[in-house]
Structure formats: C-alpha cells, structure tokens
Amino acid sequence: MTAEHTERGCLDKDEIAALVAADIPNGAFVNLGIGQPTTVADHLSPDQGVVLHTENGMLGMGRAAVGDEIDPDLINAGKVPVIETPGASYFHHADSFAMMRGGHLDVCVLGAFQVSCTGDLANWHTGAPDAIPAVGGAMDLAIGAKQVFVMMSLFTREGTSKLVDECTYPLTGRHCVSRVYSDHAVIDLTPEGAGVRATYGVSLDELRMRTGLDLMSN
C-alpha cells in the first residue's frame, strides 16, 4: 500500500536527501553522484557506518575540506577538496571502476533528466543537436551498484513528468534505476513497472493523472 502524505506539501530538496540517507543500510558502500546527491552525505549519521566511494579512486571519503585541510591531491569526483576518514584506501582508476562495474557498491545515488518506469536512466545529455557530448562516469555509475537511486524533481518547470514510459533523452543506462526519490513521491522501478511507495502533498490518484502513467501501489 502506498503511504499517501496528502496532509502536507511536497518534499523540499533537503527532505529528499534525508529520506535517501535514511534508506541507506548500515555499513553500506555508497557512491553519491555530483550535485544534489552529494547532499545526502549531510544526512548520514556516523552510527550508520556508511563508507563513501568516489570514482576517482577512494573509499572512505569524508566531508568537504576547509581551510588548512584543503589538499589538491585529495578531491572528489566533482573536483571538490575533501578529507579522508579512518580506514580510507586509495586505488587507481581501473580498480575504482572495476569496483563499480563488478557490483560491489551497495548504492549509487544519481540525478536525472528522465527515468522510465522500467528503470531506464537519462542523465547525461539533453539531446540538443549542438551540445558537446560529455559523459564522465555517468554510464559507469548507472550500472555501478546493487541499487541505483535517483533524486530528482518529478516534474519539469513546464509541468512535464520526468518519470516517463520511454525516455526521449539519450539513455545513460537501461533498466538500471531501482528507485526514484522525488519531491512528490518515492517510486520503486522494476521491469514490471513503477510502484509508488509514498506520496507527498499529492494523492496517488492525482499523481497518476499528472504523470499520465500507470503507477502501481507498492
């Protein structure tokens, strides 16, 4: 049964990040993508014992470095200086992506332009013909963990659903997203389609109408 939270408004970004953080299992190895996913780290409690991976070659990444902590040799995938936590380890790029590709991370958290109900992800390219293609680690991250969570607003500024039957933007990966955390709902994605775990500020029926999607109740 979907938990419908209609008594409140939709989630803000901070609340989305907190929800994601709460759903990360204790002791999990996690990669937080550049941008909004990075903010999940602020909501992880030390008790969770979550170990952060950064694809540029480190497990045990800590928070952003400040002042004298800043070391140009110690940065995250967004090229922001970070600190090292006890038990950290360094490895080269081939080993780091082997760790992702091999399915050893428990969770990756990513942003998205579009996600399909069966878990296809589009988050690297708007499809604009004059855009310079640049993928970075997006396609590796998309298939790089046991579970891939997407954080996004459910609708574009124009009100179009970013959860879709078929992505119209160029794909980053096929059938790779396990769950979407959005302002209006948390939605599980499987080859059988999208199942809504919870809504925020809208009912499930409203959500079905606004997205035009055949959403199941999970």
Partner: protein, 232 residues
C-alpha cells in the same frame, strides 16, 4: 630497460613525434603532469592524439596544446566543462576530432592495452548512443558491448615519489589514471617531486613498478608549491 632520470622536462619530451598518441594523466589538476604538458607544448609536436579524462581547462596546460592546433583528436570522458572554452571552440568549428568514452571504459581500455587483452565485453554504455555501431552480446543474461584497447605511444603521468630504479608511489586521489596509463604506453614519462634511493620505498607499497617507467623527470618543489598555493 633501465629507467632514465632527467631534471629537464623539455629534454624528456623531445622525441615525441608528430602523430603520436599521448596518454596524459590526471583528474582535474590532481595527478596532472602540468610541467610535462607545457614542455610538450613548447616541443611543438603536431597531429597528436591525446587521451585524458577531460579536454583542457582555462588557457593553460592541455588547453594551450589544443589552442595551437597540435592535437588532431582527443579521447576523453568529459570534454565539456565550465572553463573548456578552447576545446569548445575547436570542436564547434570542426578543428578537432572527439571520441567520448565512459570514464570506466576509458580506464579499462587502457588497462586492457597494458595487460595484453585483445578486447573485452563491458556492460557500461549498453543501449546508449555511445554503444552505437559496437558489437553487442548477451552473456549469462546480461548485455555487453565489445570494447577495444587504447594504446599510447607515450604516457605523461605525475607521481609523488620515485626511487632511482623508477618505481613509483602516488599521493591520495592524484593516483587516478597514472598507474593505468603507465602500463598502456610504449614509453612512460613520470614527473615526480621527490626521488629517493633504491630500496627506500616499501616493496609492498609500490604502485607502479619500474618496468612501466621509462623516464623519471624530477621536478622538485612543483607539487609542494601547488599544495601551498591551494591551501593558502
């Protein structure tokens, strides 16, 4: 064969010929062999193919090499950045060829070159525009695309410390592509800020054995200065 030791970046790159494929280490500025790139720019080899994670930032280093038209083609994962205006201009005017490669495939393709692997099936990129035209195969129920090795004629990497023999250790996330590129090139140049006597590096902790290192370019103070600059 025996690793050469130099202190002159210009001498170190002097035999890189026109048309060479040059693997250049670094992720952002971490591990970027800035002085070797600048020397390559002064050297002036033309028609280069460059492999790097990015396609140059600002007006210096790799961007400068691009700007003077020395690079025919670049393989990278993320060319488009806030300050990649040099590349952007060349690309839009059709003056540089671009092959965008997912970052993990980029690393693994160089690893394959160094490891004598003829090709490998990667799950990364399946079903995306970057897999178009590539051989696909389903193995054990999972889809893969066939990826080929990327070999370099030269690799320019930055390590932290070398011994006289040419063994290397790196520093924190500046390790990134360096150890992989060192294995994938015919001739590997490593710029380091520190050289110690053979035997002073712990054999358990050497990341790049000397077999992969043809020239150590000792540029003391370089990485220390960078660190002070950033911290100050």
């Amino acid at each position: 064969m025996t690793t050469a030791h130099l202190t002159d970046a210009d001498a170190a790159v002097a035999d890189i010929p026109d048309g060479a494929t040059v693997l250049i280490g670094g992720f952002g500025t971490a591990g970027q062999p800035m002085e070797l790139i600048d020397a390559l720019h002064r050297h002036g080899a033309k028609d280069l193919t460059v492999v790097n994670n990015n396609a140059g930032n600002g007006d210096h280093g790799l961007a400068a090499l691009l700007n003077t038209g020395n690079v025919r083609k670049i393989l990278c994962s993320f060319p488009r950045q806030r300050d990649s205006w040099v590349f952007d201009g060349l690309y839009r005017s059709g003056k540089i060829e671009l092959e965008v490669v997912p970052q993990g495939n980029l690393a693994e393709r160089m690893r394959a070159a160094g490891a004598g692997i003829g090709a490998f099936f990667s799950p990364t990129g399946v079903g995306t525009p970057l897999a178009e035209g590539k051989e696909e195969r389903t193995i054990d129920g999972r889809d893969y695309v066939l990826e080929y090795p990327i070999r370099g004629d030269f690799a320019l990497v930055k390590a932290h410390r070398a011994d006289r023999m040419g063994n290397l250790v790196y520093r924190k996330t500046a390790r990134n592509f360096g150890p992989v590129m060192a294995t994938a090139a015919t001739t590997t140049l490593a710029q380091v800020s520190d050289v110690v006597e053979t035997g002073e590096l712990d054999p358990e902790s050497i990341v790049t054995p000397s077999i992969y290192v043809d020239r150590v370019v000792h540029l003391p103070g370089v990485s220390e200065l960078a660190r002070e600059g950033a911290a100050g």
